[in-house]
């Protein structure tokens, strides 16, 4: 597990933590020798870290954050030291008013990082050599809220306006618009979540989920983008500051389950299998409220969940982090017949 700070002043830390043994193993043990997280290694970042991705099959990690859209590459595990060292910077041309880059990594042909802060600035860079491998054709300059590798050739880009674009890196000139936004755009901000299905299935067969800052949830099949697979509404407060922490993700081990966060100090879990296209309010399976009650001082702002993710093996376990520096690892119990 890697956590990083995003404070304004420099001296943000990046910490690679080893979770306590009970979270690493498959079976649910009882009490465990250590319940604590161990800092395996740590580093110092001068800029706030807004996005962080490991580069698979390497000991490298890539981060991005304001003030510009460049990326920082770090070396994680060294034999003789526990310090995460900065290795290089992947510079990008700085246009005006660019925010930080969103990133995704893959190591199919080589360790690559897909990054960009705007739709017209999307590129793939080889991490070690910092060479540009691919640049997406420009189809507008909206801000991006997320990007992902669907497989080693297919990219999915999500704009903050909700627009989804597909690209095939073997055909650099084509950028396919996947779908348009459901309702009239009204300054909502959107983000997306993709899921890797079982090996062998075509990547675009997995539905893409999108979440708006007003709580609208859409599921789209990329092969048939003219209609929605499902449309629902989450009961959430309007997010306070700009909705930059909206996050939606599919459960890797539970079919049809997804989680959302970024509105307040809670994380909601939904079972999308009961959804239809009506846009009705959906009832969450579970709401994690731990961050709201965790804090110390009462006078401070209530914590905001900045990011969440699912445990890769344990089906109902999630990790979430909040603006007060807390990290929670939690699960929920499926309600049985009786109440």
């Amino acid at each position: 597990v890697c956590v990083a700070g995003y404070g304004q002043s420099d001296g943000n830390e990046i910490l690679q933590l080893i979770p306590p043994p009970r979270l690493l193993t498959e079976e649910t043990q009882g009490l465990c020798p250590e319940r604590d997280f161990k800092v395996e290694c740590g580093g110092f970042s001068e800029r706030p870290v807004y996005s962080l991705r490991y580069v698979p099959d390497t000991s490298l990690l890539v981060t991005s954050g304001p003030p510009d859209s460049s990326l920082q590459v770090w070396q994680v595990s060294a034999e003789d030291s526990d310090v995460i060292k900065p290795v290089s910077t992947i510079a990008t041309e700085n246009g005006t008013g660019q925010s930080w880059a969103k990133i995704a990594t893959i190591s199919a042909r080589a360790p690559w990082v897909l990054h960009g802060s705007r739709l017209d600035r999307v590129q793939i860079t080889e991490v070690e050599s910092r060479k540009n491998v691919y640049t997406a054709a420009s189809r507008g300059s909206e801000e991006l809220s997320g990007l992902a590798f669907l497989d080693c050739n297919t990219l999915l880009l999500c704009c903050a306006t909700g627009r989804l674009c597909l690209a095939d890196i073997r055909q650099p000139q084509s950028l396919v618009e996947a779908t348009s936004v459901p309702l009239a755009p009204c300054s909502e901000r959107w983000c997306m979540g993709t899921r890797h299905g079982p090996q062998g299935l075509e990547p675009s067969s997995q539905p893409v989920a999108r979440l708006s800052s007003r709580g609208l949830l859409t599921l789209t099949d990329l092969r048939k983008t003219s209609e929605f697979l499902a449309l629902a509404r989450a009961r959430v407060p309007s997010p306070g500051s700009g909705a930059e922490f909206l996050c939606i993700s599919w459960a890797p081990a539970l079919e049809g389950y997804l989680a959302i966060s970024g509105f307040d100090g809670t994380v909601h879990v939904y079972d999308t299998q009961s959804w239809d296209s009506s846009g009705r309010e959906a009832e969450p399976i579970f709401v994690h409220k731990g961050h709201v009650f965790g804090g110390a001082g009462g006078s401070r702002d209530p914590p905001l969940v900045t990011v969440h993710m699912w445990h890769l093996q344990k089906p109902r376990t999630l990790l979430s982090a909040a603006s007060d520096g807390s990290l929670h690892v939690w699960d929920w119990v499926q309600p049985c017949g009786k109440c």
Binding site: P20, G30, L31, E34, R35, E40, F44, D80, D82, V83
Partner: protein, 590 residues
Amino acid sequence: AGQDVGRSCILVSIAGKNVMLDCGMHMGYNDDRRFPDFSYITQNGRLTDFLDCVIISHFHLDHCGALPYFSEMVGYDGPIYMTHPTKAICPILLEDYRKITVDKKGETNFFTSQMIKDCMKKVVAVHLHQTVQVDEELEIKAYYAGHVLGAAMFQIRVGCESVVYTGDYNMTPDRHLGAAWIDKCRPDLLISESTYATTIRDSKRCRERDFLKKVHETVERGGKVLIPVFALGRAQELCILLETFWERMNLKAPIYFSTGLTEKANHYYKLFITWTNQKIRKTFVQRNMFEFKHIKAFDRAFADNPGPMVVFATPGMLHAGQSLQIFRKWAGNEKNMVIMPGYCVQGTVGHKILSGQRKLEMEGRQILEVKMQVEYMSFSAHADAKGIMQLIRQAEPRNVLLVHGEAKKMEFLKQKIEQEFHVSCFMPANGETTTILTNPCIPVDISLGLLKRETAIGPVPDAKKPKLMHGTLLMKDNSFRLVSPEQALKELGLAEHQLRFTCRVHIQDPRKEHETGLRVYNHLKGILKDYSVQHLPDGSITVESILIQATAHSEDQGTKVLLVSWTYQDEELGSYLTSLLKKGLPQGTP
């Protein structure tokens, strides 16, 4: 203890004084390696002569276990300092350990009961925040460290140099002890333990809740819970925790605490009530927190009683005694549970079952099959990374030294400390010597005349800001005095000399000296607007106190020689003027 857990023993040399901090035993070894290697201290001298004192931070055996060996078998007769609770409890634990090692295991090269007694006679007990004069120059002071009853952090001061040694400490209060605290004493060096430096603590609430859940579940299904503990330390914490839980949930299953050390433990907590936390002290009048309603004294026979129960039994690692006996009785039933609440040394039954062994070989080649549930949860009270940073923030040391952790895993913490506090951080290994440079303050007397004169110069002195003064330092015998230069000369019978420099600048000017002088004057007046430039009646020019005279060159009518003359004090201005004049006079100057 450098980079190794167990067997704490640190030697500090400060301003010529030698202090030994802690004298612990390594619980993992069964031979001489369990004791520190005292030959590091001095090759052939007597330890009593070399060491000025020994300080023990708390009663855990990895901090005091080698003390009787050190004082009675190796030989040391000087003072040994520790807090009152430590002095009371140490001998009990030492005796306990001696019994097990010698009587049960039959070892021979070990200290005797008499040695423990003789050793404790050399102990001087100290109070918190009491400054103790060890000798004329060396003084020590104890601060509250949390962790266990009586644990203290010690400040050692000689003159204006000081070191703070933390021993083991805890920055978060728990149910029966407060948190460590130290004032902003700004020591030259802070020696801190860093066992848990790389740990980020799980929330205490979650940990306790899990523990209680497990105990509750076992008891609900009729099982028995064994919790092996050391008599003093976490046991009290867990007792308070269970007692509160039992009360809240109205549970009926009996909880027992093994006899022998129970009364003594309670007795010590009552005796040293000021060493416990606020809440206990406050409620003590109404109700003694250590007199439990639901926890009763244990009798060996109870172990065979049917039905659920919880038992706290010593010793903590299941290596002997009552806890091992009970364990053997209960191990075969899967409804039962044993919860290990702390670190277990290799070789003990506790360590074996925690590693997953389920068939143990007992004495007489008997095999014990362990079907009971084995759990381990650590409630240890050590400072984590956050706590260490907090302590550094409180004390504001100039340097930090970390002990008790693994070298590779402390690099990040070292950088973090260096970056945040701008101090140097060291992590020596066993046997390694670290030298810290200090800036000692040397007191100097300043003459009244000088003081008056210097304070009159410049702006009014601010009481809170340092002021720069100039004077002459006289060192005679052992006294240092700061006096004015004139007085120094007088006292030493020296005459004052003045240094004067004269420089010749050649300039091309066919006119008479007098006119050249005027040209120079006008030129300088125009450039040096902030300075006082005067033209004297005799034709010479002064710039502040520097004199310039124009004279004719002896051989060349067209050249004039400017003599620029200044005293040593005006060196800077003099050089500047010279280089300015060397550039020549501008053409149009009248």
